[in-house]
Symmetry: C2
Subunit: 116 residues, 2 copies
Amino acid sequence: MAEWCNTEVVLSVVGGKWKLLIIRYLLLGTHRFGALRQAMPTVTQRMLTRQLRELEEDGLVSRKVYAEVPPKVEYTLTEVGESLRDIIGQLDTWGSWYRELRTPPARDDEQSTSDS
Amino acid sequence: MAEWCNTEVVLSVVGGKWKLLIIRYLLLGTHRFGALRQAMPTVTQRMLTRQLRELEEDGLVSRKVYAEVPPKVEYTLTEVGESLRDIIGQLDTWGSWYRELRTPPARDDEQSTSDS
DNA sequence: CAGTATCCCCCTTGATACTG
DNA sequence: CAGTATCAAGGGGGATACTG
């Protein structure tokens, strides 16, 4: 990516396939690795770990390991991560607006398709 | 990408390697293909064409072909594309803030390194 | 429970050459 | 000028198995 462009910096940091989902979930509060997995049922262990590590390197997420058996690891947004809250809110708003815009609108003379 | 998530929709539309640059340039006004190339010296013809086509399919950019020889094609943001202006502004602001944050700050007792 | 270690796929991007 | 066509490379992502 063209990271000399400020705009691209954001993508370079949240652009991974699962990162926005992770951040959105962590915006709700601290969570354990397993909780993240359950929140994103289709992500593999490997990918979740990788994406979390990258978010950590980029300073968006902090990782807290408890010296217990079995292991317990908690992930929390840093202040930098938290600072994305507003932007993510905007993305969400635009995204739903755009999705609706691009969804073929139901015509008036058309029955509801909610039963399909 | 997980496009069932509104947030991801934005990335799916703007996530191409050159798309944000293109949009930013078109936010300045309508431009010809050649002007876009010059504005982004490292993009190949092929990639510029492809990214523009995708933006067009996604309804962010409109393409106007003039029936002239030599050919003349102008690209303009649609209203949908324009609607990203604020968000891109936010990304830009966050990006420059983040970049500065992550740049090793010069220490007080340190000489300027601008001569290196 | 929360990871690594391997192996592999394919999709995006790129280089280069050609054309209406 | 504004594209296609073709071929090649790279890396992000995935499947599966193993471990402290």
